[in-house]
């Protein structure tokens, strides 16, 4: 009985976690592919492997492409490890097949014995390093007769489950996720905000315009950029408050208010921008900083997003304000008669939602180094989808911030999965987009269905 109750609670509150895990499993299986490591770790490993196989009395030539960050680091690590293992490194050839061939011929002419060519997967496929080509070289130059090439071991692993890809999922969805936090609050009060996507665009344009025209243009300092961000947030807060006033004081349904604002804000973004495509900010260093500085070694917006989720979770679960938001959505009359400041609560959730949209717009501006009037296109639908998939009821009164995070990830994993597995499955661009929409839509329907079903299951028969 008791464990049954917990299972039910688990299913009710965190059922979507299982969906997410299942989805990750599915995408992982669909994206299994050969991996050819060629990083620092692979270099060290290859050196150790070579040393343990062939001992220390070997002459090794290291070959890689002339790519500064990746190949060079690989080659350097390989070289250092071989040397510290006691092997003799003849040299590091960073170049192309032609230069490698020249280097080998050079070594042959000098009658220097070459035992191994250590390289990575990409260079090992160069024609010059083909076995028959090496054999031919060996007949010309005796010291090259026994040369063999080695490379790091390849293995099969899902492309989806690589650190860089997972980071990409988080990075690409951070703006949506941040907007979805505000959307969750609004939907818990039984409202809706259709204007978020347009507000992202408006914020992006306002940020770019103010930096360009008010805060010094190309020479804008970090302080100037911060001021521009602040101004944008201020405008967004004002707009959000206005929505709240329409909803509470004038009693206009939120659907209608935000539908109107959705058009007004998008239109205003184009109107203010007065540009064909975007307002470039590529020369403003301060603006790049927010997205690019990567303080924790990953894109800044990932930890910012996580921080915002934690803050929202605490707000909704551990403060009086959070209780008030739930109460307003659960039964507005009862909340009012219990002394909940209903008008304040409703205005504040729309303000928060608008602020977070504005912040997402600023992040986009920093990321793309431009004010984009097309930013946040259809974002409102994606944010609402994430909230609903995350288990928040459109009827208001219930929902979890954590659920929204899961909802965003589910949508993100589907998108990423279709991108990474799409090639395997032979999907063309338009097909992929279509399939993505079909899956999103189906997922929302399933989520709403689950919401209805669990209400039936969880609610015991009233006597």
């Amino acid at each position: 009985m008791k464990s049954n109750k917990y299972m039910r609670a688990l299913f009710r509150d965190y059922g979507m976690v299982f969906v997410l895990l299942a989805l990750c499993g599915l995408v992982s299986i669909a994206t299994i592919a050969d991996h050819h490591p060629s990083d620092v770790a692979a270099g060290r490993q290859l050196a150790n492997q070579l040393s343990s196989q062939a001992g220390t009395e070997i002459n090794v030539l290291i070959v890689a492409r002339e790519v500064p960050s990746t190949d060079e680091a690989f080659a350097l690590a390989l070289k250092e490890q071989l040397q510290s293992n006691g092997a003799n490194v003849l040299g590091v050839e960073l170049g192309d097949p032609r230069s490698v061939r020249a280097r080998l011929e050079d070594l042959g002419r000098q009658k220097i014995r070459v035992d191994y060519i250590a390289t990575h997967n990409f260079s090992s496929n160069w024609g010059v390093l083909h076995t028959d080509k090496l054999k031919a070289l060996g007949t010309t130059f005796p010291t090259l007769k026994k040369v063999r090439k080695v490379r790091p071991k390849s293995h099969r692993w899902p492309i989806f489950l690589t650190a860089s890809n997972l980071r990409k999922v988080l990075d690409q969805n951070a703006p949506t996720a941040i907007v979805a936090i505000g959307m969750t609050l609004v939907i818990i009060t039984a409202g809706i905000d259709l204007s978020v996507g347009s507000m992202v665009a408006l914020a992006s344009v306002i940020t770019a315009i103010t930096i360009r025209d008010l805060f010094g243009g190309a020479s804008a300092s970090g302080m100037d950029v911060t001021l521009a961000y602040g101004l944008t947030m201020l405008v967004c807060a004002g707009v959000g408050m206005l929505v709240g006033v329409f909803v509470t004081v004038f009693k206009v349904p939120p659907f209608v208010v935000t539908l109107g604002l959705m058009m007004v804000a998008r239109g205003a973004a184009y109107f203010i921008a007065d540009e064909a495509s975007a307002i470039p900010l590529s020369s403003v260093a301060g603006n790049k900083l927010l997205y690019d500085s990567n303080l924790l070694g990953i894109q800044n917006q990932i930890p910012i997003m996580i921080l915002l989720f934690v803050m929202a979770h605490v707000l909704m679960n551990h403060t009086a304000y959070g209780r008030y938001v739930y109460a307003v959505g659960g039964n507005v009359t009862s909340a009012r008669l219990s002394g909940v400041p209903v008008v304040f609560v409703v205005i504040s959730v729309y303000t928060i939602c608008s602020l977070l949209s504005g912040f997402a717009g600023i992040l986009e501006t920093s990321h793309h180094q431009a004010g984009l009037m097309s930013a946040g296109n259809l974002l409102e639908l994606k944010a609402i989808a994430a909230v609903v998939v995350g288990g928040t009821s459109l009827m208001g009164g219930e929902g979890k911030i954590f659920g929204t995070f899961i909802g965003v990830l589910i949508l993100g994993v589907i998108e990423n999965g279709l991108n990474t597995a799409g090639a395997h499955l032979g999907l063309e661009g338009v097909q992929k987009m279509g399939l993505e929409q079909v899956i999103y839509g189906a997922l929302i329907l399933v989520a709403v269905l689950i919401d209805q079903l669990k209400k039936k299951v969880v609610k015991p028969a009233a006597n």
Binding site: H318, T319, A320, R323, Y326, G330, T333, S334, S338, N463
Partner: protein, 512 residues
């Protein structure tokens, strides 16, 4: 009243034997037997949660019983769906009517009886049939009036006509008088008498014992899902009735205490709001219970809402302990020490989808703060003390408010305001839809609050309750104070006359 019908018929009209039904964690019905004769009124009594609703829903084909047999005219029937129950001749008038507001009375009566979705509706024929049905019931309702325009009593008549149109021989009424005015209740009694004359078996559920005395031919009592007994009303005193229902004896239906009332605390002068509330003045003293009587719609609830700031008053002053209050919202009223227990618990008193503890905590969150955060443990501790103190029957603070019985819901509302420790407590229909045992506990709580020196205002449509609990009684008629009586030697008739204005000349004992 009616003779025993068994002698005329070889079988009972309805016989239910060994009926059992369980829900997860609850045994709602346990081996219950019920017999109903044609042309008799069987009163079904029991506290909330005793199993009455389950019994009715089985009869209505909503639930399937786990065990037991249902026979109509001696033949076993299988009530697997609401339609099946209708065809078996069972008509159920639920508390919440099943009427489409935008359709006329006639359309509602015949809704679902069309032979097919495409069948032609003969309006003239239906109209005549509806008239005939209303004639049979003895009440005239315009068959073409939209249901949304009808009064609650008229809608009820439409429901009854609908049952009769389906040739119902068994009519079940679930608390039919809960939303009716006293005059309308009288009308309903006549309808029930009429049904009896039409040889229809009526199962009548009510918490109001007066009605049982007036109507019942036999009384069947359920407690905790078990059949406690079926008696003749003549052989059953009111106290016995209550004892059987509650399972213990209550010394008195109304535990009113003699008390000396202190100086006046809460003074209301010239309270106005448009034409709904006109110039009402009264005082409530320390430890006093002021009963507020009046017809439904007379402006009692409207007055309470003005005191609580739920609606804006257009005039008048409100003074508590000598200080004039400026109340413009419930939030301010609560801060000033006034609380209101609304008549509509489900719609206004509770957030039904949330847990009872969250409901309890909502106006009291500042008591449970730990810095900027809510301390769940403090909240739980405070709520626990009330669970014991006022005996709320729940599985725990995490139970969803919607799943509680009416009495327990009211106790949760009470707990939330008790924690608030308000000075003025306004009860609007505090015991509506609540069973006898819980009613009694709520009265005891009122006494306790009175001992603490609170000023208590109790609005009620049950005159027995008003007379049983109040120190003074304010009667409201058409938005104005018709009089304020000291509750000594007053009868229900006195109050009714004042409430209806039938005796405008009578001298009333005014109290400042």
């Amino acid at each position: 009243m009616a003779e025993d019908a068994t002698s005329e018929h070889p079988h009972h009209l309805l016989e239910m034997t060994g009926l059992s039904k369980s829900f997860p964690g609850v045994r709602a019905l346990d081996q219950v037997n019920l017999t109903l004769h044609a042309g008799e009124v069987l009163a079904l009594l029991g506290e909330n949660g005793a199993g009455k609703s389950t019994l009715i829903k089985i009869l209505g084909g909503v639930y399937a019983p786990d065990a037991g047999k249902i026979c109509i005219d001696g033949e076993t029937v299988d009530l697997t769906s609401p339609t099946g129950a209708q065809q078996a001749g069972i008509g159920i008038i639920f508390q919440e009517f099943n009427l489409v507001p935008a359709l006329s009375a006639r359309e509602n009566i015949f809704l679902g009886q069309e032979s097919s979705s495409l069948s032609w509706i003969n309006k003239g024929q239906e109209h005549a049939k509806a008239r005939e049905l209303f004639d049979r019931i003895g009440v005239q309702v315009d068959p073409e009036a939209l249901c949304q325009d009808l009064t609650v009593a008229q809608q009820q008549v439409v429901e009854i006509a609908k049952a009769l149109a389906l040739n119902a021989r068994i009519v079940v009424m679930d608390e039919p008088t809960a939303a009716l005015t006293p005059q309308e209740v009288e009308g309903l009694y006549e309808i029930v008498d009429e049904l009896r004359r039409l040889n229809i078996g009526v199962i009548y559920i009510s918490h109001r014992l007066d009605e049982i005395d007036r109507l019942a031919d036999r009384i069947m009592i359920l407690r905790d899902g078990r059949h406690i007994g079926t008696r003749d009303p003549e052989s059953l005193s009111r106290n016995e009735m209550i004892e059987m229902m509650v399972g213990r004896s209550l010394e008195n239906e109304f535990p009113r205490e003699e008390r000396s009332v202190g100086e006046s605390r809460f003074v209301v002068e010239n309270l106005c709001r448009g034409s709904r509330v006109k110039d009402i003045s009264f005082t409530v003293a320390k430890g006093e219970i002021l009963g507020v009587a009046g017809l439904v719609g007379a402006g009692r609830t409207e007055m309470a809402r003005l005191l609580f700031g739920a609606d804006r008053r257009t005039g008048g002053t409100i003074t508590l302990d000598g200080r004039e209050l400026s109340i413009r919202s419930p939030r301010q009223a609560i801060a000033e020490g006034i609380c209101l227990l609304t008549e509509d618990r489900k719609g206004q008193g509770l957030v039904l989808g949330h847990t009872v503890q969250e409901n309890f905590a909502l106006p009291n969150l500042r008591h449970f703060m730990y810095g900027p955060f809510i301390s769940k443990s403090r909240e739980t501790a405070a709520f626990k003390s009330y669970i014991d103190q006022i005996q709320i029957k729940i599985t725990g603070g995490e139970q969803i408010a919607e799943t509680l019985s009416g009495g327990n819901q009211q106790k949760v509302v009470l707990a939330k305001w008790l924690q608030r420790n308000a000075d003025v407590i306004i009860f609007d229909e505090p015991t509506r839809g609540i069973d006898v045992g819980a009613k009694y506990e709520i009265y005891l709580l009122m006494n306790e609050l009175s001992r603490q020196g609170k000023a208590i205002i109790m609005i009620s449509s049950e005159l027995t309750e008003i007379l049983g609990m109040s120190d003074r009684i304010l009667v409201i008629r058409e938005g104005s104070a018709a009089g304020c009586l000291v509750n000594r030697g007053i009868s229900q008739e006195d109050l009714m006359k004042l409430a209806t204005g039938a005796d405008a000349g009578r001298k009333t004992v005014m109290q400042g």
